[in-house]
Structures are given as C-alpha cells and as structure tokens.
C-alpha cells in the first residue's frame, strides 16, 4: 500500500495528483471556497503570475534566469497608460507597452547571449534600471487612466469569464504548443540539457536565447497592460517581487533550475497551487505575515518532492 502510494506520488503525474487532492481538501474544509465567484477571483488573482510563468518556463528550461520581469510588468503598465493618454488611442498604448517589453527583453537576451554575462547579474541590473525608468516617467506617482475603455480590458467578460482569464488560457495553450511541438521549444530544452552539445548539434544557441528573453519581455508587456487595467492606473511600484512568485510557481511545477526539464501542465499546476494556497489563506483570514511562511514551506516541500523523485529513479 505505501509502496503504491509512493509510486503514484513520485511518478510522472505526482504533482497533478497532489494538486487534485489539495483542491478536494480545500474545497471540503474551507467555507466559500468552491463557489463560482471565488473560483473566478482565484483565477484572476493568478493572471499576472500565470502569464509571466509561461515564458519564465522557457528561461529556466534553457538554464537561464530572469529577475527583471516584475519591473518590466510595472514599466509596461505605465507605458500603456501614458501612451494611450497621450495619443488618445488605446491600441497605440498597448502596442507601445508590448514594444517596450520586447525591447527590454531583447537587450537582456543580447547581453546574456552575445556578451556572455551571467543571466542573474544582467537581469538584476535591468530589473533596477527599468524600475527606475518607471519611477522617473511618472515622477513616482500613479498615473490615472483617461479613457474608460481601458478599464474594459480587465472588466469585460466573454461567456461569463473575464477577459484576462481568457488571455491567460490562450497563452497557456500557445506556449504549451511552442514548448512541445516546435523546433524553438525543443531547442530550448536541449540548450538547458547541454548547451555545448546543442551548439555542436547545430542549434543556434545565441539566437534561441535572445528569442527567449524577447518573448519574456513581450509577455511581461501583456501582463503589465492587464494589471494596469485591473488596478485602473499605471503604478510604478506595481508587481514588486513578482519574479520570485513566478519562479516559485515554475519550480513548484517541476521545472528544473538546472535546465532541460519543463512541462506546461506542470507550470499550470504550480501556478494554481500557489493561487489556491493564497486564496484559502485569505478566506481563512490568515494574516499576511503568516502567508509568507506558508508560501515558503510549500516551495520547500515541492523542491524536496522533486528531489525524492529523481533519486527514486536513480537508486532503488
């Protein structure tokens, strides 16, 4: 019996099993958890983390790291609001935000891939530079949105489900496909597995890495726009610490920091587990200070589980 249990928990789908069990437990034990309203609220609360996790997954899978995502999200949000206020066109504002995100990501990628600077250091630097830019652009204050249409991005619904959740679902689908079914995705995983062997197998390693960071920037742009719309303003201090939540969710989802291992389904589960934990704690009125501890413990447990899983495969 315990052997069977061990096999299930440490197997391929172990995380999914844990997720289902946790979900059932929380549904049964926490009042008001399993309601339509709360479920939508939960999903909305993970939109930013979930969207950014899509490309962070690629970053980690290629043995890289991106700490600048929180800053890019805030900056892109600012740009979206300020540009649409200035031009009077929301579309132009959105394009500007995505372009800015892509630009920052591209710079990250070029510095890391071409100048061979450690990704941790590079993105630590851009994280601060970009945050600084956001603060300078707004003089440190929130910038209100002029056009009410901008709010609609976050408020509008399709089939009763808010647009941001649809965006999240579509991105999950797209990046899951890209990871498993395209040359780009396979090359990303190969680079993470063994960069030198990938280069010798004809993979254009530098170009792939630049693309990964650029995509990360684009996706942060999208997340920034949705966040600005939801909080009805461009906030230079938005999304502080986002990079840690996103990386936690990915690791929770079985993405290896040593590279070469990642699945979209894992990341989705990781994002949801984080969301459920937070949501349940809010419903139970657990003070924010304790929530930090719980989140840390969950992350540690997930990493331990992952470790157990690999050693179970190695020595039996």
């Amino acid at each position: 019996m315990t052997d069977r249990l061990k096999k299930i928990l440490l197997g391929e789908q172990g995380l999914v099993v844990i997720f289902v069990v946790a979900f059932a437990l929380v549904s049964a034990l926490v009042p008001n958890f399993l309601t339509d309203r709360n479920m939508l609220g939960l999903l909305q609360s993970v939109v930013t983390v979930g969207i950014v996790a899509c490309t962070m997954m690629f970053c980690l899978a290629a043995r890289d790291f991106d700490l600048s995502v929180g800053s890019i999200v805030a900056f892109a949000g600012m740009v979206a609001v300020m540009a649409s206020n200035a031009t009077g066109s929301i579309l132009l504002g959105l394009l500007a935000a995505i372009a800015c995100g892509a630009f920052v990501g591209f710079i990250n990628g070029v510095v890391i891939a071409k100048f061979r600077i450690n990704a941790l250091i590079t993105t630590l630097a851009t994280m601060q530079i970009v945050r600084g830019l956001a603060l300078i652009a707004s003089d440190g204050r929130a910038v209100g949105i002029n056009s009410p249409d901008f709010y609609q991005l976050a408020l509008s619904k399709l089939l009763g489900i808010p647009t941001p959740i649809w965006v999240l679902a579509v991105l999950f689908g797209i990046f899951g496909f890209v990871l498993n079914r395209t040359v780009f995705g396979k090359n990303t995983l190969a680079i993470g597995g063994n960069p030198e062997a990938s280069r010798l197998a004809g993979v254009n390693v530098d170009r792939t890495r630049i693309w990964i960071f650029t995509l990360q920037g684009v996706v942060c742009g999208i997340a920034g726009i949705l966040l600005a719309s939801r909080i009805t303003s461009g906030q230079p201090n938005a999304a502080v610490g986002l990079e840690l939540s996103v990386i936690s969710a990915c690791v929770l989802g079985g993405v290896s920091l040593a590279g070469g291992r990642a699945t979209m389904s894992g990341v989705i589960v990781g994002v949801l587990i984080m969301g459920i934990a937070e949501n349940a704690m809010n419903l139970l009125n657990i003070p924010a200070f304790y929530q930090y501890i719980v989140r840390g413990v969950i992350l540690l447990l997930a990493v331990l589980l992952d470790n157990l899983r690999s050693s179970a495969l190695g020595r039996r």
């Binding site: 079914r181 395209t182 040359v183 780009f184 396979k186 090359n187 995983l189 190969a190 993470g192 597995g193 063994n194 030198e196 062997a197 990938s198 280069r199 010798l200 197998a201 004809g202 993979v203 254009n204 290896s256 590279g259 070469g260 291992r261 495969l313 020595r315 039996r316």
Partner: protein, 503 residues
Amino acid sequence: MSFLDFSRITKTYPGVKALSDVSFGVDKGAVHGLMGENGAGKSTLIKILSGDQLADAGEISIEGKVQAYASTRDAFDNGVIVIHQELQLVPELTVAENLSLGRFPASAGIIARARMLDDVGAKLKSAGIDIDMRRKVKTLSIGERQMVEIAKAIMLDARVIALDEPTSSLSSRESEILFALIDRLRGEGKVIIYVSHRLDEVFRLCDSLTVLRDGKLAAHHISLKDVTRDQVVAEMVGREISDIWGFRPRKAGDIRLKIEALSGAKLRTPANFEARAGEIVGFFGLIGAGRSELMRLVFGADPRSGGAITVDGKGIHATDPHGAIRAGVVLCSEDRKHDGIIQGRSIEENINISSRRHHTRFGVLNRASEIATAETFIKKLKVRTPSRKQDIINLSGGNQQKVILGRWLSEQGVRVLIVDEPTRGIDVGAKSEIYELLYQLAEDGMAIVVVSSELPEVMGICDRILVMCGGRISAELNRNQFAEKAILAAALPDKKTPDAIAS
C-alpha cells in the same frame, strides 16, 4: 567459495531487466575480466558492487562475509573501490585534494597541507604515477585523470578494485602504465574486476573471465588458457563474427572536401588534406596529436584563424557548426559526455535534434517523422532500450554512443561525415554493424573521415590513412601501403621504438 562472491544478483530498472540471477566468484590475486555487449549489465553489476545501486535480490560476499553497503562511502570503508566509466573527480580541486577528499589530514578543521602533500606524494611515487599533484584536475588530460582515479584506489588500500572500461580514452602509452599498475596490484593479492570491450587487453591482463549477455551469465571461464577469442565473441553476441572489419573496396570519386592551410588557436601549423566522394579517410595519431582540434576547425566548432574549407568546389564561410551542417559537413565529437548527449532528454529528441529541420513546417515539428526516424535508428544501431522515450542518461555507455551516431547518420544531405572515435565503448558486434553503415554511406557518395586511436580500426576500415603528430600531418599512406610500423613511427614525436607503444 572464492574471495569475492556474487550470488544470484538481480536488478530491474523500469522496463529493463539489467541483471538476472548472476552468480560467480573471483579469487584473491586475480584479474577478472567482465565482458558483454552494450547494455549487458556490466556497469550495473559494478555499481551494485560499489554500493551506488541496490540489487533487487542476491548478495555479494567477501571472504564469506555478506556485504551490505548503504553508500559508496560504505564500500570504500570496506576496501571496495570502483573506477566508473564516467570519471568522477572534482575539476576545481588539485590532484592531491581529490585524492584526500573525505579523508583530509586535518587538525581542528584546518587541512594539514604539508602532511597531505607528503602522503599523496609518497603513494603516487610508489605507484609509479608521474603527475604533478599540485595541478587542478581540470587541467589534466582524460588519461591523466584516469591515473588519478586509480591512485585513489591505491591510496585507500583497497581489497577489491573494479575498473569500468578504463582504457577507452587512454593512449596506448598510458594504457601500458595502467597495465603495469594492474599487474602490480595483482601481485599484492588484490582482486581486480576489469570491464572492457577490447579482447586484446582482456586476454593480456585477465586470469579469469565472465561474459554477460542480456543481463544473464553467458559464460564463466576460470582460466583463459584454452579459450579462444572467437569463442568469447560468440559467447557475447550469440553468433560468430568472422571478420569484424568486413572491408569492401570502393571507387573514389571527385574531391568533396578540400582543406587548405587551415589553422586555429589550438592548431598552429596550417593543415592541408582532402577527401573524395566514396572514400573513407582515417586520421591516426596519439592522444594530443591535434586530430580532434583539426576536425573541430573543419566543423566550425572552434574559430579558425586562417585557411580555406571547400566542399564540392564551394567555399564554406560559416564559422559555426550551424553553418557547417547546412553546408553538408557534420562532426560526431569524441567527448560523448560533454559534447554529445543532451541529459534529461529522450533518445528520440537526442536523435532528431539536428535532422528534424528537414521535416518541419514553419518551425512546427512533424511528430510522425520524428518517431519514425528515432525508431529506425534504434533498430539499425541496435540501441538497447525499453522505449524511444527513455532519457538518454539511463542508457549504458555504449548505447549512448550509438544514439549520438544515430543523430548524425539520420542527417540528410551530408556530403562529409567526420566521426571522432566513433566506436569508443561499443561492443564488437555493434562495431562491425557500424562499419557496415559507414561503407554503405561511402558507397552512396559521402566522404567519410574517421579519427581513431585504435590502429587496427583505421587499418581495418580506411582507404587512406593520414597520421598526425604534434599538431601536423606527418604521413599519408594508401591502403596498399598500410604497415603498422610505418604508421606508428610517423605518429611518435621523438621516434622512440614503436614496439613500446604498439597496441
């Protein structure tokens, strides 16, 4: 009952029966050979002996006492030392530190450096190993690292020493030093288990021999006196192999690859050579002669500082592997672990990584063709695996090598195929199949360059041999001129007697 007894050892991995019911014994003061095809279970048996893996059933006993190790450290403490197929030293530490790791002479936690150097120095000297112990391991050649591993066994006063394919990356001179060392250890009454695919070595070194096939004991010879090589081969592969080279003459066509005055940071002397369509050109030399460096320049793996590469009359200007592959030049590198396998990914992905670009549309994979390619080469090269989805790291050493070969053999439009030590770690049966594949590719018009440190191999399968020495091409011989003496003489830098290193 012998000194070391394996009794009914069984081990299963998911989908693979690696060992079933293997029993045999080894006497004191004997070198015991362990042979078998790739994936037969040799390394697994050694890993169980070293406490690295747990057997599902069966036991190992030394002097009648059943051994149960919880870890490799435990095995160390019981005098069992294993030198694995993939070496395990810490690159950033010095030789002396590596040899003292886990047992640093120290007072109050501070390493007594002088005592450490004294201890290590004395042992190295008595073993006849000539390596500067202050050097960091990462600066050593593979052969030197192997020596350090063996020194580790001597340092620990081991009772049982197991070596898993120790000579696969040694030069013949280094091998000789190793053999002398093994002979001495035998004299001291140690038990030595020696895994190798090379019959010559096994017959030269071993007193007794066990052959594994598909995880089962296929044969056990207490003495090798009346045993022939053909017999052992038959026991390993289950059939007779009359001529492992199976050479077939071919007609050489036009010049496909032309190298003019090619040089780079690690190869100062400009090199010139050419290879024709349908020709198999061998590059022989001692380790460090510059063969791999030259091939890496041709492939664009290292930047070239001068010279020209022409394929079918068209110059290649690409300076990276990406460009070379598109121009029809591919290289299968010698360092499988570092430059070949992509850990954590499946066999299927490892095979398709390069050739998939011929089947994709707008960057989207063609799953059906990838599966077909993987299955084809798993079958063609007889890769022993439960499924194409198996992580490559779980394959035996020789099977990993086959997968990497499959990666390049599955490429389309290859004009020049360069293989560097293609059969390293591959068993006799699979070797002759790989040679056969090379002949077929040559017959279809490919130019093939084979780099090898095994003289019989280059002499067996090549139409022409180029010998390298000290970074320059020192001789060129056509098949009708092949002679062991002449080739070795050209390979030796200071013209020592060739017999001293004959393999």
